[in-house]
Symmetry: C2
């Protein structure tokens, strides 16, 4: 039996008809290697933006169901054109929408979750065709079109690779792979040959925009072999793998996120359940919370701080102010110009010297650390946004260039 | 029970977001009148052309299946945007693709025929929503997307009106209705208040571009009440109706078609079955044939002439030349600059004076009539293309302006 490979091409790999033809040639070369090829595509270049701006001309709050009907056309255009380009070079193809290839999701329009994939049609078609699937989309049980939210096409590709038990899943983009830092701001950033799922998950969550955390999580859960590669050359990419030597320190990368706000409620009376109530209220209002810090500053009173994306501030501020008033806290301090700088790797917490080098570097730069959070695979600090670039550069120099 | 109305809006009624909003207001006014409204839409303005030119950049002969996947996105964009515009003015809506609203077709991609409509979902949704349907598209039994070819959205609308037993089907366009001649070339052309299915069928076949013959035929077969109206004003349109007083002469309009070629095979040996063989050969090659004329010019030899659209000439010429050679005919004469001028109405053949006035008018203008064909509801003449405009003007003057 031939092995199946799933390849995902993002908007930049098919941004115009020339790129579509190049991508077709790449796919052909894989078919020539004897693979059964499933291709997942995003919308071409700016299509999604164009469609969104049409919607905005009509409504500031368009129905999410209709937005899904609208946006899903972007990928449908891509599958048809890529299919035609493959036919031109004598490859038999069939294009399938999310609905046609059986990607069943829940009904959360604009941010649906894949529930299962009925892979029968794809498997049948693979015997004679390259199968080209519209990423980012599925259908719910009513037969309505849903979309998967940010990074949706990556998720489609990984989910298909899992369902089809593919040999591997390749994510094509316009960079060569995963880097030790964002190459646009750190020219010396180094491409990683391999990275573990957990490390990649941290990198993705902390702002490396190449892969969406959801797809990495899915890949980890189903042990899908992932590789991130460039569609513009034949360089080897970055392999995301399961096995990693936990004893060895692996420092993978530095990330910085700059659209973060810090909210502090000062002098919260120290009664049981107050933090719970706050975060329950926020979660009931679908506010994304990231880092949380609570420290006893005075006798019987706490400061509670947390971070949230800047774009959520309008929603969060009134909720928090209300809450603070109700519980008799002193004040709410909102700072919308902070950055989160993170160091990602395996085993870094177990080795105290990594953390101290990290803090020392910031301290040498006279940068005040406002919050710290750590996990098995990362150290993150909140600092003033104005220091974000210099901190990232210096940390990269210390950990990767010496 | 509320009555159902089906309204179809063409590309010009939704060519930009401003027009879409205007169209939404029109739909709302019908809902306020107590109708359950089903809206069928085409692609916005130039969308189809844009998509086609993308396809042409990739392939000169794109797969028809993939072309259907591509082009059907145009209507899908329209339904989502129109739905959003209706939501903005507090109308509950649901948009449905051809697949979602159960329009089942055969598998002739790019020119599919509707086989049946499973109207269950539409009927359920109509209890609470204006239902907005993507015209021009359906699905075949494999679940693949098909499109209905030219005039496809009109056909979708009429088919839905028939399946839903709608009170009426309104076709909105950028002119006020059906005219006695093309208003762009005959400024005095008169808008018709009513026209019969058969008359409309002739008008449509003979070049009146407002309605496609297929949709008229369907409306006739299912006795769907059709009305053609402008989406730019509130003028009454033209009603296409079943009953017509056959005793009374009703002259409806003059049409001219200018992209016609005449092909003559001269001195065809007069043997049985030769005409049959010729037209069988042409039909096997999917050539559209319109008028056919056979006349015995010499003893035992015929001239056979027929007309075909100019764009088919490349395909037709070699077939006819081969055929002529094989049967020992004298020559093939191809004239690609003829026009067909037609007078349409009911009862015009039964009253000889109409036909003679028609021929007399052309004769007074010293225009040579190259071919004549007649039916219950029309008289058509083939003349030299250079006389088309003057003939149309004069005939309109004689029959409609005096």
């Amino acid at each position: 039996m031939q092995q199946i490979i799933v390849q995902k091409y993002g908007g930049s790999s098919i941004k115009d008809t020339t790129r579509i033809k190049n991508t077709a040639n790449r796919i052909k070369s894989y078919q020539n290697q004897g693979y059964q090829v499933v291709v997942v595509v995003s919308a071409m270049g700016k299509t999604t933006d164009t469609l969104l701006s049409l919607a905005k001309e009509i409504s500031t709050t368009p129905s999410k169901r209709e937005l899904d009907v609208l946006l899903s056309t972007g990928e449908q255009i891509s599958i048809a054109l890529l299919s035609m380009a493959l036919n031109e070079i004598e490859i038999d193809t069939i294009s399938l929408t999310g609905s046609q290839c059986g990607i069943k999701t829940n009904s959360v329009h604009s941010n649906a979750r894949i529930e299962n994939i009925d892979s029968e049609r794809i498997l049948t078609e693979l015997n004679k065709n390259v199968v080209i699937v519209a990423g980012f989309q599925g259908i719910n049980e009513k037969g309505d079109i849903t979309t998967l939210g940010r990074g949706g096409s990556d998720t489609s590709a990984v989910a298909l690779a899992a369902a089809l038990k593919a040999e591997k899943c390749e994510i094509y983009t316009d960079v060569d792979g995963i880097y030790s830092a964002d190459p646009r701001i750190i020219p010396n950033a180094k491409k990683l040959d391999t990275i573990s799922y957990d490390e990649m998950l941290e990198m993705a969550k902390l702002g490396a925009q190449v892969l969406h955390p959801r797809s990495v999580e899915l890949a980890k859960n189903y042990q899908v072999k992932l590789e991130v590669k460039s569609s513009l050359n034949n360089n080897p990419g970055t392999k995301i793998i399961g096995e990693i030597d936990m004893e060895k320190i692996q420092i993978r990368g530095i990330t910085s996120e700059n659209s973060i706000a810090r909210i502090s409620i000062t002098r919260v009376p120290d009664k049981p359940g107050i933090a719970y109530k706050l975060f329950k209220t926020l979660s009931d209002n679908s506010v994304s919370i990231d880092m949380i810090l609570q420290n006893l500053t005075h006798e019987n009173v706490n400061d509670i701080s947390f971070t949230t994306p800047v774009e959520e501030l309008n929603k969060v501020s009134p909720i928090v102010k209300d809450f603070a008033k109700n519980i008799g806290a002193e004040d709410v301090i909102i700072k919308d110009n902070v950055s989160k700088i993170s160091l990602i790797g395996t085993g870094i917490l177990g080795h105290g010297e990594i953390a101290s080098m990290f803090f020392e570097t910031l301290s040498d730069l006279k940068i005040n650390i406002e919050m710290i959070s750590t996990s098995e695979t990362k150290i993150s600090c909140i600092i003033d946004k104005s220091h974000s670039l210099i901190a990232t550069k210096k940390l990269h120099e210390i950990f990767f260039e010496s």
